[in-house]
Amino acid sequence: MIVFSVYNIKGGVGKTAAAVNLSYLAASESTNTLICDLDPQASTTYYFRIKAKVKSGKSVLIKGRTKLDKNIKGTDFDNLDLLPADFSFRNLDLMFDKIKKSKKRLKDSLKSMRDEYEFIFLDCPPNITLVSENVFSVSDYVLVPVIPTTLSYRTYRTLITFFESRNFDKKKIIPFFSMVEKRKNLHKDTIEKMQNKYKSILNSQIPYSSIIERMGIYRQPVVKYRPKSLAAENYRLLWYEIKEKIYSK
């Protein structure tokens, strides 16, 4: 079982779109996949037409496996399940701090699902808190969509520094360019700069696409409602490249 988190401290970089489409692609290859929506904004949950939880109290994430199971929902797609977002996730970092054994419970819950799921995708909120730390420690790989602008570059460097300071394995980080507009010189230049500096950046890039923007209207993965589009093709290439990378080890 492999756990991917899709993370960036900045919002609006294409995290959720990537998580939704990559998990759909994984499931469409007949591998059992779970996507967990950790963002209290609940966009992933919305895209899959599922209701987010609004109850307050301890989050299911740290209540243990059985509670987790009760909350998992099947999506409209074979082999793909979703753990809906929970409004209580906004306080998750406080819970990790205050409630004993909460970090261990998250790790244990995810690990115990290895017989059910081959892939787990964690769609992370755009911030850096105790939650993110725990997600990094629990993930096998951290997929980081990066918009090729100067500020994004700086933010990416901050992430690397953060990993170093906490002694997390930097090799877990798999960055890829997202919302790329090839016509913009800034994008072209930043891509070149970053590719020179960071060899681990994937070759596949997700273009800026209004088709992807309309996911909120179609409420389906792009790969499903526009399978022949450039965006869909790029997600497929991205998934293929990710698989190559993780299985070559």
Binding site: S30, R49, G74, R219
Partner: protein, 510 residues
């Protein structure tokens, strides 16, 4: 967990759908029309492991018969004949452990018209699947209606809707489906589960005479022999020949051990005919066994040498082709047909005409006990003589004596208490396995040594040398275990049970 309903003849399925549409949001998803074909091995391995295997629309499915759950599903280009034909994955692994070297054979098919519907909530989220199916049997040019089924398939986390729809369907007059489509379709094709088994399943009665019992046993064995013929000629898998030869060995054992039941000429002809059949199939079986060992041998060699034994197997494959052709010709020959017809007639003939031996009229129970007790004593006598330094030939003899004990135990098992006889058979089997392994390892080394004489390629010889060495190591270990294994078989409990069941009353009274 799925819930399956059947739509009774007086209710139209359209009315059911219309009723549902009034209360729920339905969307037609997909539909297809085609055949669903069921497969299993000749000896029903999937069925006996509570599985169902079928193919429809280029997909294969493995379903648990116990709770109708889907265990595996896979898209395929061609139906796999053997589990190794599948691409790597959980389906292949699962099938490997159940099927081993047996081939999948098509059992029966029925026609399916399927339409899938999604039940949607206010967000257009699918909360349940409804699968509507019409099953038909294909009869030459017409088709006959088998069932109309409505299946509710829950979606994780939305099970509450399953309960809701379940209640609704009952109010429309639908009835829960309790039938077994698989068995029905089989029946229509004149089959039923386990209509073939390589295990002995002979039902004798205490009131039978020795010759009635012998006839019953021979009839069952002969039938097994015939059932396997076609599979051999069509080269479906290696086990048809194996089961055929086992049946012949058992038949020879009957004629060899059930003395004085028939006229002497019958014994002579039986010995002649059945040893002929055994001989004609020896080489082919040997080759099959070697080819089945290919992966095992490769696993015993270092990675860079695995390919070096290929010449050995290539030679085997070539020889097998020749042997298979010879066997096919033999099965079609007049000589073979005469043998089969002769014994077929013999078995079907009335008792009065044929059986005139000393024992034939006697009751089967003392007859059976006599044979078994005699064989048991021989096994014990020979086994106790064997020490760590005894020559291999004695172990070989013991192996044969154990077989001579095993066969009558199995033939007559229905005359004794099930737990007791099974206990003895199981304990004998452990001893037989040890002796069998020993014999097997010895023969393997001999064969490889013989092959070495014919090949001069250095790499091949090196690889074979390693194999022979490893087989020899194994043989020494197995030989070492013999003493304990025999002690266990000869222990007080087992001996007391043999004594209780089979010792003649005269001996008991002593």
């Amino acid at each position: 967990m799925k819930i399956i309903y059947t739509i009774p003849q007086n209710i139209s399925h359209n009315s059911v759908l219309n009723n549902l549409r009034m209360e729920f949001s339905l969307r037609k998803d997909s539909g297809w029309s085609g055949d669903r074909c069921y497969y299993d091995t000749f000896d029903w391995r999937l069925y006996n492991n509570s599985f169902l295997f079928y193919c429809e629309q280029s997909k294969i499915y493995l379903i648990s018969r116990k709770n109708q759950t889907l265990h595996e599903c896979m898209t395929i280009k061609n139906i796999p004949r053997f589990s190794n034909d599948l691409s790597d994955g959980t389906f292949k692994d699962r099938l490997n452990s159940i099927l081993e070297m047996r081939a999948l054979i098509k059992l029966a098919c029925h026609h399916v018209d399927q339409t899938k519907y999604r039940v949607l909530d206010k967000n257009d989220k699918t909360i349940l699947y409804l699968i509507f199916e019409i099953f038909r049997l294909n009869l030459n040019k017409r088709s006959s209606h088998l069932h109309t089924l409505f299946t509710l398939v829950p979606i994780k986390g939305y099970e509450i809707y399953l309960a809701e729809l379940n209640k609704k369907l009952q109010t429309y007059g639908l009835i829960k489906f309790k039938g077994d489509v698989f068995k029905q379709v089989l029946k229509f094709n004149h089959r039923e589960p386990n209509d073939y088994s390589s295990k002995i399943n002979i039902k004798l009665q205490i009131k039978m005479s020795a010759c009635e019992a012998t006839k019953t046993i021979l009839s069952s064995l002969f039938y097994t022999m015939e059932r396997n013929q076609k599979g051999i000629i069509n080269d479906i898998d290696t086990e048809f020949l194996h089961d055929y030869r086992v049946a012949i060995r058992r038949i020879r054992s009957v004629f060899g051990q059930f003395k004085n039941v028939f006229k002497q000429e019958i014994y002579s002809k039986a010995k002649n005919d059945f040893s002929q059949l055994g001989r004609r199939t020896n080489r082919m079986r040997d080759i099959d066994v070697y080819l089945l060992r290919k992966t095992e041998y490769q696993d015993m060699l270092p990675d860079d040498m695995k390919k070096d034994i290929n010449p050995f197997f290539t030679t085997m494959v070539k020889e097998r082709k020749i042997e298979l052709k010879k066997l096919g010709q033999y099965f079609n020959s007049e000589e073979y047909k005469n043998i089969i017809n002769h014994w077929d007639k013999f078995i079907k003939e009335s008792l009065a005409d044929v059986y005139q031996g000393l024992e034939s009229g006697n009751s089967v129970l003392p007859f059976a006990k006599g044979i078994i007790w005699k064989r048991y004593k021989k096994v014990i006598k020979l086994g106790t003589r064997i020490t760590q330094s005894s020559p291999d030939v004695l172990l070989h003899q013991l192996r044969i004596e154990c077989k001579k004990l095993r066969y009558p135990l199995e033939f007559f098992s229905s005359l004794f208490a099930k737990e007791e006889i099974n206990y003895l058979i199981n304990h004998l089997k452990i001893l037989q396995d040890n002796l069998g392994d020993l014999n097997d390892l010895s023969i393997q080394q001999d064969t490889l040594r013989k092959y070495v004489e014919t090949d001069s390629n250095k790499r091949t010889l090196l690889a074979l040398g390693i194999l022979i060495g490893k087989l020899n190591e194994r043989q020494v270990k197995v030989r070492h275990k013999f003493s304990d294994t025999f002690q266990t078989f000869a222990d007080q409990v087992t001996h007391s049970l043999f004594y209780k069941l089979f010792a003649p009353t005269a001996e008991k009274d002593k």
